[in-house]
Symmetry: none
Subunit: 426 residues, 2 copies
């Protein structure tokens, strides 16, 4: 079943505000089998909204409209929907009494403008609003439903839940959409897609069909799997099997099958194997340690971090010999290795990480352009080092460098080689 | 002139993601007089997108479409717009060569699927993409324009700016909405609003009217001023006067009048006064140093940072005496002060910052609950220390603590007292 979500309000058409109600509405509708095909933010304009509602009603099984039910002249949702459905508007005395009472309870007289909130297009069912003055409205026309909800989330959410429970779920047949987010590090989108496309292409024709979206996010690739199933149990069986197939083709580059960020995955491994960690970072400027410590309980395994921006700090805080910096330059694998080894031995941890590079925009040279980053990770006697060439601005280089360092740490802890070696071994 | 913004991608129709490109597009279009009347997120479905584009093209002077220009089967924007405009699709060999070259520069062969990105509906103008493989496209039909931009913001934004400069601005009447973002640290929203409301209330009736929105963002308050003016020069005169009025009432709590983040404001002060800085942070876990080093050129004044998560690290890296930790506890003003003084003297900088606290969710006690953070900043002989009580989860506490440390540093460098002292002095 197809759903459309409309958020009403010119303030959400400024550069400053996004509509977030639709995220809650989407989650709830997905679980009872509605597929949200379109969402839109519409200005406070009767003609325009009437036009959009009419056009959505033509293809959607359900149109959810949030906002524009207040008492002011800007609140045009009732009027616009009435126009779209060609329904006359009546004033509902019961609603009027309820609003008057609400004001009276707070020792106030209802302002005249609140009369607008008692206007009901003919044929609508009134949905009570225990948390505000604006009632919601429900329409059924030509096999489709239109539901109007107030904009404030604390009024919208309980009313949405009541509508789902009492009106939508009983007719939904119980089939819904259930999701899984997988994350992949250290690979290009087109490369991952070429590898997984033949796999996920077969899933759409399964008894429990799964659709797949691939998404390149900064420093990682995400695969979003959406199973359409009569209930969560059936969905989980199909999704678990799908995840296993992807693990088989993707190998160690697949680092998360439940949406966890890389720092949480690394943190989980450190905790599980009772390992401690220390970081010496230069171009990432503290971001790597900050991400490691974003994980609750990370004080159990993060001993310390040093941000050694200057050469002097690399020597004093991480024990990198001056001569090494002179010989190879501050941005080099030997220096990254010395940082990793130095911080590990000074902090007395199992693991040490060293990151040194050029985040830009200044500081690049022809041999070492902006985006050049050397990373080294050492665990006991096992050391791995790599030099990357990242694209993008300063913050992007910082993020990608931190991401690569976390990913190398993950692979080292599990003593697994990277994607290339893994693919060759197979 | 009316504009419509469409964001393409099923991933933005899940409960996980919102479209934020439209905020940037709105701001730029507003400035050249376009009124954004509708924005929508549309699924990766050729028929549906073709239908939405057709319907937007019927009323809008400009339709901006972002996303869906990648190389995979999900990327259906080119095809859908071609269908809406009834235009056949050709493969553009020049684009194909450019994509091949881009891959070759990174030592890779162009995957076959990237051929999709060279498909151009007939009649389109190709917009170069210096930051990625997907070119943009520009159509003019029946007095209206349709522009297709890639989804990743770092590719989308420069292309949008080029389109505005070269194609849209020359034909706009010059009248538009011009905005200014002011940022305030260390105060409550209601407090700021009570103080500034009488000021901004008078601006709506000016010859160049200015509307004002107040917004509580994590760790700061923002005031968004929007001037409606025939051109940038008139808007700037009115906005400059408005900003001066706000500076007068808000005093030193107003830290940015051009939207700059706090770390850039602090960085500017350090550079201007030729001061260097070093950080010893515990509960912020590297975030404070990471924010300082987000600013380009920060290697000129950031000497080093240490993340001393354990007590041992506080002693070894920042020289905090054991006895002080035993006496006052690791989260205390004396320890924050010792961290600030210790890192300053070890690093040989002008300024030292110490931050110690409980980010949660664990580690709180009745006397020192989660969210308790002590911050100390020392500049030569001048030391300031404060203990805060922040609300929210782990990442929120980290951010607010870093924000407060940056704000205390800003006030110390300018040798200005906080808001309370300033208000009393007046």
């Amino acid at each position: 079943m197809k759903a459309c979500i409309l958020a009403i309000g010119s303030e959400m058409l400024t550069p400053f505000r996004v509509d977030t109600n639709s995220l809650i509405v989407t989650e709830r509708l997905n679980a009872i089998g509605y597929d949200v095909r379109l969402k839109a933010v519409v200005a406070d304009d009767v003609d325009e909204l009437a036009h959009v509602v009419e056009s959505a009603h033509a293809w959607a099984d359900l149109v959810v409209v949030t906002g524009g039910l207040g008492p002011t002249e800007d609140d045009i949702t009732r009027e616009a929907v009435a126009r779209a459905l060609d329904a006359p508007i009546d004033v509902d005395e019961t609603i009027l009494d309820r609003i008057r009472e609400r004001f009276a309870r707070r020792g106030m007289t209802m302002p005249a403008i609140n009369r607008r909130q008692a206007m009901v297009p003919r044929g609508a069912v009134v949905l009570p609003n225990p948390n505000g003055t604006a009632p919601g409205l429900w329409f059924e026309r030509g096999g489709a439903a239109i539901v109007l909800l107030p904009g404030p989330p604390r009024e919208m959410t309980p009313m949405l839940e009541a509508v789902i429970r009492e009106r939508l779920e009983p007719n939904s047949g119980g089939a819904g959409l259930f999701r899984r987010v997988l994350k992949i590090a250290g690979r290009a989108e087109s490369d991952v897609d070429a590898q997984v496309q033949p796999v996920y292409a077969t899933w759409v024709a399964q008894p429990v069909p799964i659709s797949t979206t691939i998404l390149a996010v900064l420093g990682q690739i995400e695969l979003h799997l959406t199973a359409q199933a009569p209930g969560r149990a059936d969905a989980d069986v199909a999704l678990d099997a799908a995840v296993r197939e992807l693990q088989e083709v993707l190998g160690p580059s697949l680092y998360s099958t439940d949406g966890s960020p890389l720092e949480a995955v690394v943190g989980g491994l450190l905790r599980e194997r009772k390992l401690t960690i220390a970081v010496a970072e230069s171009c990432t400027g503290g971001l790597l340690t900050s991400r490691l410590t974003d994980v609750p309980g990370s004080s159990d395994y993060v001993e310390c971090g040093v941000v050694c921006y200057s050469n002097r700090a690399k020597t004093e805080l991480a024990g990198v010999p001056d001569t090494l910096i002179l010989e190879h330059g501050a941005v080099s694998e030997p220096v990254a290795q010395a940082m990793a080894r130095g911080i590990r031995s000074r902090a007395g941890t199992n693991i040490g990480i060293g990151v040194t590079g050029i985040a830009g925009p200044g500081g690049g040279t022809p041999e070492k352009p902006v985006g050049t980053v050397s990373v080294a990770v050492v665990l006991e006697d096992d050391l791995r080092a790599r030099t990357f060439q990242f694209l993008g601005g300063r913050e992007m280089v910082k993020f990608q460098a931190a991401q690569s360092a976390l990913n190398m740490t993950r692979l080292l802890i599990t003593r697994v080689q990277g994607q290339r070696e893994w693919a060759e071994r197979k």
